[in-house]
């Protein structure tokens, strides 16, 4: 009768038990995004729908599991995950499989491959959040310095594979934690200024720096080429610039309303490279137009808003930091991907969150959502 107030003794249905860990808002937004993903995939690559549905099932299950675990318990797993992740990254350096000129995968036999760098996308912010929560109340220069070291080790290992895209995402995830933990503004502002000046300088002197034979510090040649191609895609229209030119044409030709679902000529003419993975945004933009794009951006924004609200209301500093970082990493994903596909960022291998084909990224993202859901709940009630 008045069971609402006395939930502990209420006999709940299986459905209710299954739904309990889930945040309704996040769940609905995720459902909407995944439905959208399937619709786009049905045009971009219909033959992959089945396996993508399997990925979705796996990812949602993982999300549910993570969401069912109290956030403090998740945070307590962080040191172990971090150490394991770094160890695996070292193993990749030693025994990893080379694919497309980069060592990223660990083969475990039975066709099972594992990308430790993907684990670090979650483990890295968790470890830092755990660390800062541990030092809650005593966070100072020493803590930030230690945090940067914790962050730099796996990022360096990933960058060495080389996988700059993932390295940047892992670095970003860690930086968000450090930022939310209260990194002083007097450190943030100069870095931001240097960054803006650097980008500006590149815009001016890029052509000179991109000439043949000019070696850049740190970056590999293919990374240099990507940045240079971004500056001037037409310099190699059938080679490195092809991706950007064709995806830009696809997006631009979509117009306001799009060419219609499954009617994109760029998509179906084979002009769009990697149309089901990193460039799937161009499929959406071409076929559903700016309208479809804005719908997607609105869904993402809603997800971001919900994530930031969860962070604000999270029960502990670690939960706040982790939730904030997870939310912002989602933004980073979508910004880098859409920016790349629409030609304002270099081509880096970052999928469009929840939409691109592939299991690994989807599981990572859904685990992130699971963490947000876990952070949302007031576990002390139980």
């Amino acid at each position: 009768m008045n069971s609402n107030s006395n939930s502990r003794f209420r006999i709940t249905s299986l459905g209710e038990q299954l739904l309990r860990p889930l945040d309704p808002a996040l769940g609905l937004l995720l459902a909407a995004l995944l439905t959208y993903a399937v619709i786009i995939m049905a045009s971009a690559s219909p033959s992959r729908i089945e396996s993508q549905l399997e990925h979705i099932a796996l990812a949602v299950t993982m999300m549910w599991i993570v969401a069912s675990i109290p956030i403090q318990r998740l945070l307590s797993l962080a040191p172990m995950l971090y150490v394991a992740g770094v160890a695996l990254l070292v193993m990749v350096q030693l025994f990893g499989t080379v694919s497309k000129g980069a060592q990223r995968w660990l083969e475990f036999g039975f066709g099972f491959r594992f990308q430790p760098s993907e684990l670090m996308k979650i483990a890295m912010p968790m470890a830092l959040a755990w660390f800062f929560q541990k030092r809650d109340g005593f966070i100072g220069w020493k803590e930030f310095l230690l945090g940067v070291v914790l962050l730099a080790v796996p990022v360096a290992l990933i960058a060495k594979q080389p996988d700059l895209g993932t390295a940047l995402l892992v670095a970003a995830a860690g930086i968000y934690v450090i930022f939310f933990a209260g990194l002083p503004w007097k450190l943030i502002v100069p870095v931001a200024v240097i960054g803006i000046v650097g980008i500006g300088a590149f815009a001016v002197f890029g052509d000179q720096w991109c000439q043949q034979g000019v070696q850049w510090p740190i970056l590999k040649d293919y990374q240099r080429d990507r940045v240079c191609t971004l500056l001037n895609p037409t310099r190699d229209p059938l080679g490195k610039g092809f991706h950007i030119i064709q995806s830009t044409i696809a997006i631009g030709s979509g117009g306001l309303a799009g060419r219609g679902w499954t009617l994109g000529t760029q998509t179906h003419g084979g002009f769009l490279p990697e149309r089901h993975t990193d460039f799937i945004f161009a499929v959406l933009a071409e076929e559903l137009g700016l309208t479809g794009v804005l719908v997607l951006l609105a869904l993402y924004l809603a997800l971001l808003v919900r994530g930031l609200f969860i962070a604000a209301a999270a029960p502990s500093l670690g939960a706040k930091l982790l939730a904030g970082s997870m939310t912002m990493i989602l933004f980073t994903y979508l910004f880098v991907n859409i920016g790349m596909v629409s030609g304002i960022l270099p081509v880096v291998g970052v999928p469009l969150p929840f939409i691109s084909y592939g299991g690994t990224a989807l599981v990572t993202l859904c685990v992130g959502i699971g963490i947000l859901m876990s952070a949302r709940r007031n576990w002390r009630e139980h």
Binding site: G140, I249, T265, G270, S342
Partner: protein, 659 residues
Amino acid sequence: MNTFNEPDENAGRFLLRLLVAALFAFGGCFLLALRLYTLQVKYHDHYHTLAEDNRISLLPVAPQRGNITDRNGVVLARNFVAYTLEISSDVVDPEKTINELASFIAIEPRDRRRFYKFRAENRRLGSAPIRTRLSDEEVARFTGQRYRFAGVDVQARLFRDYPHGQLASHLIGYISRINDKEVEQLEESGDAANYRGSEHIGKLGVEATYEINLHGTSGVEHVEVNADGRAVRRLKNEPATAGNDIELSIDIALQKVAEDAFGERRGAMVAINPTNGEVLALVSMPTFNPNLFVDGISSADWNMLNEVNIPVRERNKPLLNRAIYSAYPPGSTFKPFMALAGLTYEKRKWTQKISDPGFFWFGGHQFMDDKKGGHGAVDMYKSLVVSCNTYYYMLAGDLQIDRIASFMPQFGFGARSGIDLPGESDGVLPSPAWKRKRFKTREQQKWYAGETISIGIGQGYNAYTPLQMAQAMGTIANNGKRMRPYVVKAVIDNQGQRQERPLEQVTEIDVKPEYIAQVRQALEDVTRFGTGARAFAGAPYRSGGKTGTAQVYSLKGGKYDKSNERMRDHSWFIAYAPAEAPTIALAVLVENGGFGAASAAPIARQVIDFHLLEKRPNEPAREDADAKDEGPENTTNTQAAANAQTTARAETGGNPSEQ
């Protein structure tokens, strides 16, 4: 040091940072939205155009080539639809596919070579033929197995077919694959666009000279393509305009009679209608089968036609068009023209007699007559009827080379006739000017008076094509009006509009009609009482003619070897008929045929007989009908038969033509 000690204060600072992060994220999303708005709304038209350009490809549609018929409508070159088995360029391992196909469809090594060549050269066409001209049974067999072969398909394609095989092949010519040089020529002439879909182009004969008419205008198919350039969907179609049909002036039945008359002998014959220049038959023996070239000639066939395994001196050169390219000394067939020159320059009168002792001394050199002891007293009439050499030695000496050289061009000697066939040669009308041009050293350039003497009987440097001889004979037959010879009578466009070739009189020779009449009187008696009498014995019509025998060995300076057939004289006969109002003028040359009266004149007789009397319309017409009914299968058979025949000839003939 410890900045975040107070929980409330900390919570407030964290909220501020969340707000900053939110602004950062919103700003980023706004930036993206702005970028997308720019692309999708502001520059939409630009990118839309780019996308359209990307996806719409204009595929050329090759037009159907025009047919070639003879003057009676008998088809000499046509197109037929045949099934080809084609393998898409998507097929990654064609060798495996071909091997599997070969288990139930005959695939020769030649087919494989052609396939890989085609595949390498025409990547964008999407598929390459592994077999052409499939039989119905083979099509059925493949259809049953089709499910096993992704990317393999049967296509209906147009092929060129020459139903008469090697008959008149030099004249009709053939089409074959466009080569790099022709691509360049097409680009220069601005026709490259019209040939984008065409694989073949006329290489020889009428197929080459009337390429523009026969080819037609390419159509365009607007298709949607993917990034690999492969057609996905058809959007719009501008059909091709078929090429024009061509009606030849040739009577293919007459041509057949002439070619049959030659048999295994090498030589050439050109028969024209002297009144209008229509070429009625143009023979060059031996011939070849043009069907061999259509799909790209195999190296075996090519070697066979070029006789690579035969010593140079024994080659028959079937690809050589002797009728318009090879120039031979005219021998005594030159005499009527010399006679006209003598009359015109008043160096001889018709009745004026000379005494022929059987030789002619000039410059310490003895020029022999054809008859031992000579012909005695010889006037111009007799000089032609019995073909007296001494008469013409003397006449040439009196005329001098300059007069001869300026008189002869009006008959077309030494210049291309302008016939509508490729590969005509000038021949040689010798003169001191010609020698200066032809030779390098002073010694060689000098003109010797003795050279003039041999020219009088059509020897020396004199050399003319059979076409030039026929044209010159026709000029006499047409009472001095020289008509431009041509082989295409009319062009018929695809609306059925017929355009006749306009007649073209090249020149009216500057010779009094009475002189022509006198010479014709003599020529007409050649076939009655003279050197051509035996060949024309019993002919129910009157004709004019002149035999000729061109020496081979003396020109070469080699040793005369009677046993060597190639050393024998070339045999000429030029003629016209009927004498009263000639409708045919011809020149026959039989290489190493000996006396003109012996080999060339009988061929002329058969041709004129057929032309004037034995017109058997049923026989050739029926033959053509048969070829039509039996279609491509039959073509293949006749082709094979022709191959065998040509091979046999090449192997047994062993006669080089050294003109």
